[in-house]
């Protein structure tokens, strides 16, 4: 009975925070003036600029999947096949690009890539080019670069996991039967890493097309995500936004189902014996060139972060490779300025409250999924993983439209909805960590406690919680850090300044004249440091399993 109440409460949470807003969007896309219509969708698909935006978004997704593959797959193979000094440190370093969202990174990188930015000045000084090259162009290229540098670790992690799943003997068997390296790759290795590749690709694709912050900073407006952002302003007079969100939703769901089915069908794990190792020792020139290659990739992928740091300290950065004068004034501003102070305070409140909610729900759901036998468990499983699939921009859009003119209207006070969106979006992390902790936790450990006379509460306090808490802690830190730097929901839901979280403050400052961008960068660096520390702690606790956070299904 008690179980049913708890279970129902959790279902109500998802119903309210996820199912209802999403259904509302679907309804609005097809109902107009009280009857079913395809008109709104038709307008969206026939309007030239919207069609162009859809095509651009699609292209962006595909290109970023390709570019991340080009970096991520070779990296994964290098880490799988060779052993070299500093490998474990490098493995963590290659996760570093994830510490700053491309949105924050793009503020700094403009200083590098612009027509008279660092890169062109350097090339001109080296005499490599005569006239400056337009790197940013329309902004599309800039978005591709930033997203690639941010997202390739996801590809890297997923492919690494796939490679880790099978034993070298399956390759040896292929060679043994007379296949050459080429055949072995396409007939054996490729199919084995394919599920990992699909999983990573769908995350990267969805991430790329729903990223709102980066295109906003590069001012490339012909993308679905940006169109959604702008249509929200006159959603009462122009319902095309609903159709756009519907299209995004449809695309993500198709990908999700496809990935889930594909991966579900092919449980390719051959299990690795501990005796054999794929790793080869490299020496001399080969080792040297490997290091050069790795460091080069690392260096390039950290350019946005370095530029952000430099920009945050620059007093004057005009027509030079690096700033000509430095100052730490902007860091002082970050802690004294009204807007930044409110932003930091708000974000801390939003993130910690939502993390507490996440811990509670994540723990409960993880426990229920692992230990209870109750009807509707499958539904709960799907619901709790859904926020991983449904983009933030869809959730935020849903909240604004669904709850406008109610007591929860974000135009009056968005706190509840921001916290709700933050916690909803990070619940899968916590569910996943607690679930896997519970799976590893032998049920006998609990039963042993009961058999010695301990009641539920004591057993929870003394046995279950201490054993599950490292996983819970790691997940919570990660959830907190990601919430702190969350972009889409923050940009859309926070309309009044006094409710701005960090991301929206950064966005606002970046668009401000004079010292705004520098202050935005300092705030970005601050966020970056917090995320890096959190990621580091979580990685320490979770070791290689960190990759699990970035997989669907």
């Amino acid at each position: 009975m008690k179980r049913k109440i708890v279970f129902t409460l959790i279902l109500i949470f998802f119903l309210f925070s996820l199912v209802y807003p999403v259904s509302f969007i679907l309804l609005q896309s097809f109902y107009h003036d009280g009857k079913f219509t395809l008109e709104i969708l038709k307008i969206a698909l026939t309007n030239y600029i919207i069609r162009k935006s859809i095509i651009n978004s699609f292209l962006l997704g595909v290109i970023v999947v390709l570019t991340t593959s080009l970096i991520g797959i070779p990296l994964a193979f290098i880490f799988d096949r060779f052993s070299f000094k500093g490998k474990s440190i490098l493995r963590i370093l290659f996760l570093l690009p994830m510490i700053a969202s491309p949105f924050v990174g793009s503020i700094g990188i403009k200083q590098i890539l612009s027509r008279f930015g660092s890169l062109n000045i350097l090339l001109i000084k080296l005499g490599l080019v005569k006239n400056p090259i337009s790197w940013i162009g329309s902004g599309f290229l800039g978005i591709v670069i930033l997203q690639t540098l941010h997202l390739y670790p996801i590809m890297f992690l997923n492919i690494s996991a796939s490679l880790n799943n099978y034993d070298i003997s399956v390759e040896e068997a292929s060679y043994n039967l007379g296949a050459n390296a080429f055949q072995t790759f396409f007939k054996i290795i490729f199919p084995l890493i394919l599920p990992g590749f699909f999983a990573a690709s769908s995350i990267i694709f969805i991430w790329a097309i729903t990223d709102l912050g980066t295109p906003l900073v590069f001012e490339f407006n012909n993308l679905v995500s940006v169109k959604i952002f702008y249509t929200l302003k006159d959603i009462n007079t122009n319902p095309v936004g609903y159709a756009l969100v519907f299209i995004i939703l449809l695309l993500t769901l198709i990908l999700f189902i496809f990935t889930k089915k594909y991966i579900g069908k092919t449980p390719y794990t051959t299990g690795r014996t501990q005796v054999q190792t794929k790793e080869k020792n490299l020496q001399g020139k080969k080792l040297f060139s490997l290091y050069i290659f790795l460091f080069l990739i690392l260096l390039i992928s950290l350019i946005p972060h370095f530029s952000l740091i430099f920009y945050s300290f620059s007093k004057k950065w005009f027509f030079s490779i690096l700033p000509s004068e430095y100052t730490n004034e902007y860091y002082k501003i970050v802690f004294t300025h009204r807007l930044t102070k409110t932003g930091i305070f708000n974000s801390l409140i939003y993130s910690s409250v939502s993390t507490v909610i996440d811990i509670l729900f994540g723990f409960l759901i993880g426990y229920i999924l692992c230990r209870w036998k109750i009807k509707g468990k499958g539904l709960l499983d799907i619901l709790s993983m859904m926020p991983l699939v449904i983009p933030g921009i869809v959730i935020a859009f849903g909240y604004v439209t669904t709850f406008s003119n109610t007591i929860l209207d974000p135009r009056n006070n968005p706190i509840f909805l921001i916290i709700l969106s933050y916690s909803l979006r990070r619940i899968p992390y916590l569910v996943r960590t607690t679930y896997s902790s519970f799976l590893q936790l032998d049920q006998g450990l609990e039963e042993a406690s009961y058999s010695l006379g301990a009641n539920n509460i004591t057993t929870f306090k003394r046995i279950i919680f201490p054993l599950v808490s490292p996983g819970l802690f790691a997940g919570a830190i990660l959830a907190f850090a990601f919430s702190l730097m969350e972009v889409s929901c923050s940009l859309i839901l926070a309309i009044r300044e006094k409710f701005y979280p960090i991301s929206k403050v950064i966005y606002t400052l970046a668009g401000r004249v004079t010292d705004g961008p520098n202050t935005a960068c300092s705030l970005g660096v601050l966020g970056m440091v917090i995320t890096a520390i959190s990621l580091f702690i979580s990685t320490k606790i979770f070791a290689k399993k960190i990759g699990e956070f970035f997989r669907i299904g």
């Binding site: 006998g444 039963e447 406690s449 058999s451 010695l452 006379g453 009641n455």
Partner: protein, 352 residues
């Protein structure tokens, strides 16, 4: 008459329509070392978990010290449980693991210290108190598990295949250890295993389980010498078996015709069918030509140290195993024809 500690009555249990336990009944008396013996998958672990209260039966009752505890949660039963994989808490030291059961009952620290030291002595864990489970060996972990279960003075101790994760030598050692602890503490134990050797050497009573049911309960001797059916007979030790047909019965002597000729069997058992199996254990045959003769060629032998089991193949192609002492082995040569006989009261009869 010893005091009844635990009675299990008419227990049924099924999971998702699949029957796991069917009408289980038995009683365990004070100081008993009761064994539930059966092949894997026969439901014996589920039975133990029902007694402990981790699983609720569909039907039937569990009675402990004359009290029906079927509906009582596991933490209120005061039943000790030793898990197959020990279930030691990895985040607690050995001493914390052991003291846990006392701590949750809010005993004074002084009392806890005394009790823990006592049990550490009994289980010979001195010096390991401040180590974590991952830092000690499998055998030591098993002792900690035992100590943890025993320290709270349970009314009864349940052990779920506690030795199955250990290697042969450690297993022997710990078997003796458990026997000693049983003697020293006098606690009533219910022990689940698939290893008949364990049951025979340790048990005071054995309940043999076959396919969801308990088929026979008795002392090791009873079960060995007078098994209820051919399953129990073969599960508890090696047997030679022949198919036969009862041709005549005079008082308690049966005349049974088999491929290998006529056998006479003396038993008080009620046999209701003409078609039967006759069985005898390897050590029951003697090297003489009397009644119930088996003639054949010495085909092969297995050397066990104190005894040798020789394989005899008869002209009809049946194989018999005969146990002889090693000291007598030099009488025989491979390939030679030899003759054995089994006295009529050492042959068992089972309905087909």
């Amino acid at each position: 008459m010893a005091k009844e500690i635990l009675t299990v009555e008419n227990i049924d249990k099924s999971y998702n329509g699949k029957v796991v336990l069917k009408n289980i009944n038995f009683t365990v008396y004070e100081n008993d070392f009761f064994f539930i013996l059966g092949p894997s998958g026969c439901g014996k672990t589920t039975l133990l978990r029902i007694i402990a209260g981790f699983v609720e039966p569909d039907r039937g009752r569990v009675i402990l010290n004359k009290k029906d505890i079927t509906k009582i949660p596991p933490n209120k039963r005061n039943i000790g449980f030793v898990f197959q994989n020990y279930a030691l808490w990895p985040h607690m030291k050995v001493i914390e693991n052991i003291a846990y059961g006392l701590r949750v009952k809010n005993y004074t620290e002084e009392f806890i210290k005394k009790k823990v030291n006592e049990i550490i002595k009994i289980t010979r864990l001195e010096g390991l108190e401040n180590l974590y489970p991952s830092q000690i060996s499998g055998g030591q972990q098993q002792r900690v598990a035992l100590a943890r279960a025993l320290v709270v003075n349970p009314q009864i101790l349940l052990l779920d295949e506690p030795l199955s994760n250990l290697d042969a030598k450690l297993r022997d050692e710990l078997r003796r250890e458990i026997k000693r602890i049983h003697k020293e503490t006098g606690i009533t134990m219910v022990y689940v295993t698939h290893d008949q050797k364990e049951a025979m050497t340790l048990g005071t009573t054995i309940g043999v389980m076959k396919d969801k049911e308990i088929v026979q309960i008795g002392s090791p001797y009873e079960i060995y010498t007078n098994p209820i059916d051919i399953f129990v007979a073969s599960f508890i030790g090696e047997i030679n078996t022949l198919k036969g047909e009862i041709v005549k019965k005079e008082q308690d002597i049966f005349k049974i015709e088999t491929e290998e000729g006529i056998f006479f069997v003396k038993t008080k058992k009620q046999i209701n069918s003409e078609n039967v199996y006759i069985s005898f254990r390897p050590e029951s045959a003697i090297n003489e030509e009397k009644v119930n003769v088996i003639k054949g060629r010495l085909h092969d032998y297995e050397f066990y140290g104190d005894i040798v089991k020789i394989n005899i193949i008869t002209q009809k192609g049946n194989l018999f195993k005969i146990g002889i002492y090693t000291k007598d082995f030099n009488k025989y040569k491979k390939g030679e024809n030899i003759v054995f006989s089994v006295s009529e009261d050492r042959i068992m009869v089972f309905e087909q």
